[in-house]
Amino acid sequence: MNHHHDAPLRSANRDLQEIEKKMDRRRFLTKTSLGIGSLALGSLMGMEKIFAGNPIAQPILSDSPNGISGLPHFMPKAKRVIYLFQAGGPSQLDLFDYKPKLVDLHGQELPDTVRDGQRLTGMSADQSSFPMTASAFKFQQYGQSRAWVSELMPHTAEIADELCFIKSMQTGQINHDPAITFFQTGHQLPGRPSMGAWLSYGLGSDNQNLPSFIVLVSKDAVLDQPLYARLWGNGFLPSQHQGIQFRSGKDPVLYLGNPENYEGADRREMLDYLKSLNEVQFDTYGDPEINARIAQYEMAFRMQTSVPEVTDMSSEPDWVYEMYGEESRDPGTYAANCLMARKLIEKDVKFVQLYHQGWDQHGNLPGSIKNQCKKTDQATAALIKDLKQRGLLEDTLVVWGGEFGRTVYSQGTLSPDNYGRDHHPRCFTKWMCGAGVKPGFTHGETDEFGYNVVKDPVHVHDLQATILHLFGIDHEKLTYKHQGRRFRLTDVEGHVVKGILS
């Protein structure tokens, strides 16, 4: 490790040469004061190379745009994805999963044979009565596909023929955070990489000037359940694959702008020198995070130009704002984020993740779901229409849905014009649209109570396997070795849902 300055590190810049000399002294002090300690540390680092992260066996990807070699495994259908995550658990019974029989059963107790001893959340477990509750909203069939959509989603109803509904989604998680974490990372406990990070790691970037995984969180949502940045984290993957959040307001990406009174004239020179320093460090320790750091500095540098360009909305004509809804003029709203998602997709960003909170309607469901839909329905449908007319739905996949569904029985007292619904992991509805999925199609079925899946259940891991499949990835083969074992997004499960592939 004492070859530090044998490396080609001779700057022509006098100031930098000074720093090099100072580093010699520092290095000397480190060596002498730590002595055997640093030796031991060195061997520990060596051990880590052999056993833990195994950075040598992993492809080193500091700046490789094409992902890891061998991928895609087969011809992909999708090139990009927009994931419209509706956090909180939208009520499938009030939106898409039409159960006419509930009108007759309204107010009656949910039969025990249907619930079949399922554990309930702490929020409704001590209820003495579980009255089945029909939706307060009217349903109608739309399009050639005759899909049922409730009156809450008039705009989505218009595009029903583009959508592929999965009515038989299932998850193992009953609380928000584990359930969202499960959907995004394939495991209910935090720490695994999220789907966007896996895709970025596996397939690389199609636009070197923007991150391949960008996250947009609605500012106009009811903030009932929190979201955490780890939901778009890289887990154990190299950290350049984490999702980058774009915010509303003056600074879409934090700390990207130059500090006051600095024009950035010698930024390139600074970064080149910093890169050579980091490379020396990498040669010594082999820690892949050093390469990640290099990649991130370079990306940030390019983003100083590319982000202001892509977030500039001035070139969008008025009819676009009319299409997405007037709120789309206000950056950071769901509608504006949908429009931003389209712009990012046009720039070939691989994974755009939207989050809209506020679907957790334990009580007062009819009133609050109406507001939720008002804020999201038009923009969601506009995004689909806009992608379609631009030809982008050919290779862009759109996914809509939450982390679980809601119960058929009312949480709290059922009154003539009000009810609530608790978390329900046994069945819920998601829809997908675009690249590689059947348009105007419904997969899976629930029973007449809307409580259990009776046909073609689709588990969270199945959905993840299917999304990877659309990108040409065999979900069993995209793995990363960490702490001595190989991990994958779908853990040890997941089957591609062949029925929905076009």
Binding site: P76, N207, Q389
Partner: protein
């Protein structure tokens, strides 16, 4: 009882052989030390190690002989190993004798004997290694020579052609059983390398009874709990998978152990499992030759974004971003000509391409998706596209195409989606209706 004892003692051969190898090599090394550095005082040590070498070689050879008697090994390889082994014993004896009386022999004789001894030692060791590990053990991963893909068998035109025995069972037996049961190493007198020898069985009789999987020794052995004495593959080698056992059971039971029976006769699940293991031409094979990374990097330097659509197909997705075109799009497109067959998806949206550029693009005969929206392209340019016989998606949004241009596009029978937003074409134009009749999805703005 004596047979067991012979086997027991014989099995010390593989561990013992390392002794003479070590002694003899040390002896020769010592000798070179003596000769080259003139350390005559160490000649005694040379004699001593060579003596140990000769004695241990004799013991190794005797043990080896016992092991060969215990069965399971036969053929040329064994004979060669045996002969070379005895030669090593004799040569090491001579080497010791020559060195002990070195004043009586010339240096030349002495060195020749030692050289010959080393050569024989290596040859013996190599034969022995091939016996235990298989003949291609050493060379299978060598950087030189052709690599054999183990899992895939003969090339088939389609799955219908596959025979259960030749294309599925045989490869399983090869990878899981034949390291011990093959020509030259017939443990339990069982040779599984051909259908005939497999059916003949081993020392305990046949291992396969057609139409009776339950009575077939092979199925019984591989299905036992892995800690059972009779379990196969023995000695902790990789066991057969559930599907492999199922398939062989099916083949014996329903397939009557017929060597020619088609895979299509088997259960759907088994076919599904076996199919990816077959070496079928077509679908998963290369569609076009892969281009090398250097060429990709050259294109990227010019401003193209190059994406490999799938590693197996060699197909590429190429995007020229608006900002990279810089009014030079015609020159840039020329750079794509050397890889024209590899381009499956191409996007030149907003790059400023004109009619004249389309004749060049029409040479990209494998194009499946073409995005040329927002460019000053007219009907006359569009006519060139009719040569693209594989084109499925065509984006002409914001071009100057009119209803007339549609006539050329009608000739592309592969077309599935056509984008005509912001063009002079109207949904009620006759050409659009014809497209719809031909099941082409035509998209205008909404």
């Amino acid at each position: 009882m004596t047979e067991d004892l012979i086997t027991f003692i014989g099995r010390f051969h593989p561990v013992w052989v390392h002794l003479p190898i070590g002694f003899l090599m040390i002896g020769v090394l010592l000798k070179s030390y003596v000769v080259l550095l003139k350390k005559q005082n160490l000649q005694e040590a040379v004699n001593f190690t060579l003596f140990l070498g000769a004695v241990s070689a004799l013991i190794a050879a005797l043990l080896g002989y016992l092991l060969s008697q215990s069965g399971g090994y036969e053929g040329n390889l064994l004979d060669n190993h045996l002969a070379a082994g005895w030669l090593t014993v004799v040569l090491s004896g001579i080497a010791w004798w020559v060195n002990k009386n070195e004043e009586r022999f010339s240096g030349k004789i002495n060195y020749s004997v030692l050289g010959l001894l080393m050569l024989t030692l290596f040859v013996t060791g190599h034969f022995g290694g091939s016996l235990t590990h298989g003949e291609d053990y050493l060379t299978a991963y060598a950087p030189f020579g052709e690599k054999q893909e183990e899992s895939k068998g003969r090339i088939l035109a389609s799955v219908e052609e596959a025979e259960v025995f030749t294309d599925v069972v045989q490869p399983v037996l090869k990878s899981k059983c034949q390291s011990c049961h093959r020509e030259g190493k017939t443990k339990g007198e069982l040779n599984m390398s051909s259908y005939e020898s497999l059916l003949k069985g081993g020392e305990n009789g046949p291992v396969i009874i057609p139409a009776d999987a339950e009575k077939s020794e092979l199925i019984r052995r591989v299905s036992l709990p892995s800690d059972h004495d009779d379990f196969m593959p023995a000695e902790g080698k990789k066991p057969l998978t559930e599907e492999e056992i199922q398939l062989i059971t099916w083949w014996i039971e329903k397939g009557n152990a017929d060597p020619k029976i088609s895979l299509m006769e088997a259960d759907v699940e088994l076919i599904k499992w076996a199919k990816p293991k077959l070496n079928i031409l077509g679908a998963e094979k290369m569609l076009v030759a892969a281009i090398d990374t250097l060429r990709i990097m050259e294109l990227e330097k010019k401003g193209f974004r190059v994406r490999i659509l799938s590693q197996e197909s060699g197909a590429l997705d190429i995007v020229l971003p608006e900002e990279a075109a810089r009014g030079q799009v015609s020159e840039l497109l020329n750079a794509l000509l050397p890889i024209k067959d590899q381009i499956f998806w191409l996007s030149l949206a907003g790059t400023g391409i004109q009619d004249s550029d389309l004749s060049l693009i029409s040479q990209f005969s494998n194009l499946h998706r073409l995005r040329i929206e927002n460019n000053p392209i007219t009907d006359s340019g569009i006519s060139a596209l009719k040569n693209l016989t594989k084109l499925e998606v065509l984006n002409l949004n914001g071009t100057m195409i009119s209803a007339e241009g549609l006539e050329f596009l009608a000739e592309i029978k592969s077309l599935k989606s056509l984008y005509l937003w912001n063009t002079a074409v109207k949904p009620e134009d006759k050409g659009v209706k014809d497209m719809a009749l031909a099941e082409v999805k035509v998209v205008f703005g909404s």
